[in-house]
Point group: C2
Chain length 426, copies 2
């Protein structure tokens, strides 16, 4: 009912969107920093000026979702209020305040023949963002892609379609005010799922990378079907290893924070590994500290002596991202045992080691291949903002191009500029 | 006839190769630099020690190819002699001499909460290399991947299968001598084309990137069918733009070198663009200089006054990578015209501008999006060795991860190491 196009037009509509995005990307690639920032500030202002329209559209989305029997966390993610609008506008201004990565010289060196070679950042091109119910992704993703000189094609969930369109109207107004092409930020005008299929196929070469934002089933579909690169993580099955050399108070504070600060984010810890050599010292205090905060603890069979009466973990626990106040706990044979367990079960997102023994930390850092490894700090720092990157469009666990938080810098490519004085090759 | 496996076993054999490669990659990822270099030196020594076997195998390949009616450049690429063997061994030693990128800190910064974040290089994982007749690729690719801590699966052409296997035997001896897993460098034991299909499908997640080395039809197949990232260029349709501000002598030397030094390489110039405002000054001298070196010149209709009697270029010339002593020449309306033509026809590989006007150079560098842009230098410098990267496994025109020459550094990923003192997130 919200759709502006007929189903059988989806392919044609999407191809046209792709072509327009590519044309806009060419213009954005050479847009000066000041013009991009002017657009971003105008977008933030328009979001505030349009707040009544955006809130009205959002109320309709929320009402429709409730009619469809949706409730709970989903409505929370969907619902906007005045503070939410203000946060969106401030988020865009924060992106305007970031350094422009485009044109940055990443490396520069001279050759014996007198050539000077430099490697400078360029935009990636066209980013496709496929997301679910959070209306703010429309603004965050649009602004972040623009800052890095990329065009973006946004495909939001049908439940937040009215909100997304109202926000998109404000973004377009900002682009127009700065004289940038409105096609720089396009929103797919249909909720037909075939549109997602077209995006995953790459729109005839007019999408360079896809960023899915949403639950595991969305990300799984994107990862399995996409014919273009994807920046994503399927899950954050994050581990904490507490070594026998750890400080107990520090371990307690970090474990509780890593699990319980927010249980629903990808950087939340899901499995606690304790050095068998210090089980007596750590197991009971850490389990009790977690339980004090309301966490359900599922323990491996061989540590039941330290955790009588608790649920026993089975093999599925080591592969489960609870995203809830539940943790699995296991004894391992020191750092080697931790490395082995993490190597087997990790989603390559984020892992932490709590230890005072520097050899242990060195092995953890060297031998584990996850996007983010922390020493004596909470896994919940796995976040572009906490890394000082400003906004992030997501966290990637792949090893190609972007890994870890995907901020403005990760949305760029580069080219080589070679300066000569008449050199020819012999 | 050379195949060691039956056709119907190809899937099973390839999956097993993938698993072994992944296991080897885990071992290589933590192999110390000294061990990797010891393996490389042992490989080079083994290549020299086995030179009789390698040359005998190569003679059989060459004889079989001739029996199949193959001749000319193909045989040239296939045929090895004692100097070729020495060059392979020296190539491996040169890779041993390169800095090890693994573990390098690319960036490091502190956060206000006391966390220190560093970004360090890690191996990519498993590289699949699909190549044609050059036997040296077996050694070059194997050594380069090893240096960056990656396992490699090599699939050479059937015409060079005996040579590749003989070289591979030497590489395995080197790995064994250093105590590294022989599966670090595997060669596909069948010439069944289905094996390529299995590699392009990613071997159940056990290939991280594919590098095709060969002609356009091989690269095209890989690019269209691969379900994993590809580092490649389909073609090098390289342009030179001579601005009215150019120095004539410099332009002449560079244009002749860019086209004629070696006509069959991807960095050879294919189209010469001349500023219409200085056609009188440049057109005839540049055309005559090219013709003096034996180049066939195909000129655009509107410059026929400067090139009477030459072939007229048609629309197909602007999209043709001749890889031969042929060049297309066109007048354009200054730097804007050059940017427009290159934007329309470029393969995004390498382009050069010859100019003394810095505004012109700045626009060329800023507005053209190719992997390599040169000012007052020959396009034939588009090469990892010339860039000072040591060996290269190819040149990529994609914008994801690697772009331009793909050397040892481009075969790496990275991870974030975060060092704390007990930080938790508020």
């Amino acid at each position: 009912m919200l759709d502006q196009v007929q189903n059988d037009d989806v392919t044609a509509v999407m191809r046209e969107i792709g072509k327009r995005a590519r044309a806009a990307a060419h213009a954005l690639a050479i847009a000066p920093t000041a013009v991009k920032n002017r657009a971003l500030h105008a977008m933030a202002n328009a979001i505030e000026a349009d707040s009544d329209d955006i809130l009205a559209a959002n109320r309709k989305d929320v009402a429709a979702a409730r009619e469809n029997g949706i409730s709970g966390a989903f409505i929370n993610r969907l619902e906007l209020d005045a503070a939410g609008i203000a946060a969106i506008a401030e988020g865009i201004r924060a992106i305007a305040a970031l350094d422009d990565p485009i044109g940055d010289t990443i490396a520069e060196w001279d050759r014996p023949n007198g050539l000077t070679i430099s490697r400078v950042r360029t935009p990636l091109g066209v980013i496709g963002v496929i997301y679910e119910s959070r209306p703010n992704v429309t603004a965050d993703a649009g602004a972040l892609c623009l800052k890095a000189g990329n065009a973006v094609i946004l495909r939001g969930g049908s439940d937040s379609a009215r909100s997304a369109r109202a926000i998109h109207t404000a973004l377009k107004a900002g682009l127009a005010e700065a004289g940038l092409p409105e096609d720089a930020i396009q929103i797919v005008p249909t909720t037909d799922r075939a549109a997602v299929g077209e995006m995953l196929a790459g729109l005839s070469g007019n999408i360079d990378v896809i960023v899915p934002r949403g639950g595991k089933s969305l990300v799984a579909r994107v990862q399995s079907e996409a014919r273009v690169p994807v920046f994503a993580h399927l899950e954050g099955l994050c581990h904490i290893y507490v070594d026998k050399s750890a400080d107990l108070d520090m371990a307690r504070a970090i474990v509780v924070n890593a699990k319980m600060r927010r249980t629903g984010i990808c950087g939340a810890a899901e499995t606690l590994l304790i050095d068998r050599a210090a089980a007596e010292k750590f197991a009971t205090p850490l389990i009790e500290a977690l339980e004090d905060k309301g966490c359900l603890v599922r323990v491996d069979h061989d540590m039941i002596d330290y955790a009588r009466g608790r649920d026993e973990a089975d093999d599925t626990d080591w592969t489960t991202e609870y995203l809830d106040a539940i943790i699995s706990v296991k004894l391992v044979d020191g750092i080697s045992g931790a490395i082995e367990h993490i190597g087997k079960y990790s989603s390559h997102h984020t892992e932490a080691v709590i230890a005072e023994d520097h050899e242990v930390v060195a092995r953890f850092f060297n031998e584990i291949d996850s996007a983010i490894l922390l020493h004596n700090a909470s896994t919940q720092f796995a976040d572009g903002g906490e890394f000082g990157m400003g906004a992030e469009i997501g966290i990637a666990t792949g090893k190609m191009h972007a890994r870890g938080p995907v901020g403005v810098e990760q949305l760029t490519s580069f080219k080589y500029l070679v300066r000569g004085t008449g050199q020819t090759r012999t």
